[in-house]
Subunit: 466 residues, 2 copies
């Protein structure tokens, strides 16, 4: 690594990328130093760089490599693991100005996009062609495709349509020496060489900087029909989810809310969502198969819920009414702010173990004396137990951290993973090591060393190089 | 690497794995030295090793590593790229005795299998639970899951259900030092660390030996309804495929046969498949949506075919009749043996370019003076132009090789890839380099060097390490 002083690097970057592309004012750079995970550490960047094109990304990587200054790549900052958080003295490489949808090839059902495109903008652009980009993390109206790729983001769609990696055909990636890797293809199949695209997807900015993606699109589904079902026990709701899976149903959405989530939503929306006072869990299901088929799918789902003891079901194929019902789920995190600051966890268990996970979270809630609301993607077993606490109290923060970890412990004991869709980032490095073990860690370090030998990209995030 | 003599290695392997697990008779080992690709070179193995368990695989890898003897992993040998072909003095590591279905977890829709399980056996085993393992390469009745994983095999199912990698949750892999990597998970979502499973899938045995897989299963679809449509020009058939894609239809199967394929099938089956003498292309489509939905899907497909100029369509929801119609497609390669030895190519183009690819193949056929039959997975753009030649004639073999390469040239010029599902193996190394370029090759070599620094696994297959 070079001997350039830290003052010289911003000057060089301004020379190469233009004055406006390089921010060094501490107040400004601080606003680029964090994502949405309160527990994760964040340092003070030397500079924030906002390249306008791929050449600007390459120039930034080369300059930082020569100066020995680490790079933390970043999209909109909607992440929930601190993966995009700055470290002291780094360059934050914000990809938000690479925001062009370069091509929508409707005839081949694909689009070519830059990483700074907002998820919702891509969804809207392809919808005009009767097409559908499925990945829909809850921040879809402001998160970027680059961040989605780097974290392999999920969302509500996954139960039927998979996660981000399932929608990617090819990637362009700037490597640690500034060279541009083009990997993948525009065809729907292809096995020429290693699946490098999927190695970079979900690598949280530790292996390179994604500068372009070719994504596969699906036919636009029908407007969804919606079913809600209330249960007087989480066990009954969990059994309904397991039955749905076992009987081979694939709803386009299947979400669960526990009693704490329901109460928060009702308080926030100032409405009774019809769950009843004894309701311990609510399932929300949708079918996007359209018309009679959707009605039949929902009828089967409804019958399973009733068979499992649901005491309240309601189905509608009215889109506006369905959106209103879904609103109860969508506002949970915001609603929890009525009580304090939220800290959302992310754990994925086999779909037969959901009720046990929720029960574990309720036990932890009592143990730590903090409110924990459990919401999640029931159809995937991907739960987001969300802890409410006062971050100004160190003692309460410690209890929140303990609950956060205890939830992961319960998830792992149920055969689950410590992160279903939010990632490892700067908060779950120890948990990654516990989950994948020493051989898995060694392979991670070998790949990191092979592609980023000087540990230029997002050092210390996901894992310590060794 | 150690200094053990080549005689000592089989002796050590017999000591550690048992006498019956190590074959050295030259006539016997020769039968393990090739897959189904006639163009690929094959050497003479020092020994063939058939471990009965993962410990046997680890012992073999450690012994070979110490002796400096390369390992060529192998399943049933149904491959079409020579990836499993022996090199002189290697150990062929045949995984066929690791043939247990360890678990079918119907409630979580997954199965845990060893690599030697035959694809059809897994399909049958999970069907009893009302579940479906989609990947169906044409050799599904004898190829193994391990081979499918190593080549990321496709098949007829891909247009609706994706390729092998889309059905995998986790893998166990024996690495070059004999250690066992467990990667992936049993949950349907998970982002803890790099997507190592998908790095090993499709790596053609160059990075490690897959000893176990956890695969995701789908609900068993309905018995398919079938549509055939004849066209008097390949352009019209290609336009029908493009229209089907553009209009957002997702048949569960969509195959194309050109006139040469049709004639061969008819001659072999001794039947008129109803295509008519002027028929230049046949589309075969299925819907597995069941009942009225399937009938509606096929009616839309049929109308598109008619709009594009089809002069013969026939639809049936009778399973036996559908299977008979599909038989015409399934027997093409066997049927071509009426005329000589076949050499099947594998190229995938954007789905709008299929007619151009077929036209290119017909031009090449005239140029080289050899029969070329084009069949393929039209819904994916994955075509298998198949050259008929006399392998005992060096001159004709050279023309076959020229046709094989010219087809790839045409495919690349149309924006395609040089292998859609068969792999690079020992026949397309130069083409891989042309397709992915120097940066892509460098990354491949970096990853290979990181995971297999002594080039123990399948050296020279897919690419030369450097």
């Amino acid at each position: 690594m070079g001997g350039m002083s830290n003052d010289a690097l911003p000057a060089r970057l301004r020379d190469e990328l233009g004055k406006d592309a390089v921010l060094t004012d501490a107040d400004v750079t601080a606003s680029y130093s964090r994502d949405m995970m309160p527990l994760a550490p964040a340092g003070r960047p030397l500079a924030v760089v906002l390249p306008a094109d791929v050449e600007g990304v390459q120039a930034t990587v080369r300059a930082c490599a020569e100066a020995g200054v680490p790079i933390v790549p970043r999209g909109a900052g909607s992440g929930l693991s601190g993966a995009a958080n700055a470290i002291d003295g780094c360059v934050v490489l914000a990809l938000t100005k690479l925001d062009q949808i370069l091509e929508v090839d409707a005839a081949n059902r694909l689009a070519v996009v830059q990483p700074g495109v907002v998820n919702l903008d891509l969804r809207n652009a392809v919808e005009k062609h009767g097409l559908f980009y499925p990945p829909d993390p809850s921040s879809y109206d402001w998160c970027t495709i680059g961040g989605n790729l780097s974290t392999n983001a999920g969302g509500l769609c996954c139960v039927k349509y998979g996660v981000t990696t399932d929608s990617v055909l090819g990637l362009d990636v700037v490597l640690a020496d500034g060279s541009l890797l083009r990997t993948g293809r525009r065809t729907v199949k292809g096995v020429a060489g290693y699946d490098l695209a999927r190695l970079f997807i979900g690598s949280e900015g530790t292996l390179g900087v994604i500068t372009q993606a070719t994504v596969a699109l699906r036919p636009l589904p029908q407007a969804p029909a919606t079913l809600v079902a209330g249960f007087t026990s989480t066990e009954a709701a969990g059994e309904a989810v397991a039955r749905v899976v076992r009987e081979g149903l694939v709803p386009s959405l299947m979400e669960i809310m526990d009693a704490t989530s329901i109460k928060a939503s009702e308080a926030y929306l100032r409405t009774d969502i019809g769950a009843g006072s004894g309701c311990q869990a609510l399932l929300l299901c949708q079918s996007d198969s359209g018309g009679e088929v959707a009605r039949r799918e929902l009828a089967v789902l409804e019958q399973i819920c009733l068979d499992c003891g649901s005491d309240m079901t309601y189905a509608t194929d009215d889109l506006a009414e369905g959106n209103m019902l879904l609103q109860a789920r969508r506002v949970v995190l915001t609603a929890l702010e009525l009580y304090g600051t939220w800290l959302t966890d992310d754990v994925c268990v086999p779909r037969t173990r959901i009720a046990e996970l929720i029960a574990g979270c309720h036990r932890i809630s009592e143990e730590v004396g903090l409110r924990i609301a459990v919401v999640g993607h029931a159809g995937d077993g991907n739960m987001h137990p969300t802890i409410v606490y006062d971050p100004t109290s160190p003692e309460e923060s410690a209890r929140a951290q303990r609950a956060f970890d205890d939830i992961l412990e319960v998830g792992m004991a149920l055969g689950g993973t410590v992160t279903g869709e939010h990632g490892v980032g700067k908060i779950k490095q120890d948990w990654l090591e516990r989950e994948i073990g020493p051989v898995g860690m060694r392979v991670h370090r070998q790949i990191k060393a092979a592609l980023d030998p000087d540990n230029l990209f997002n050092p210390g995030s996901m894992f310590a190089p060794g």
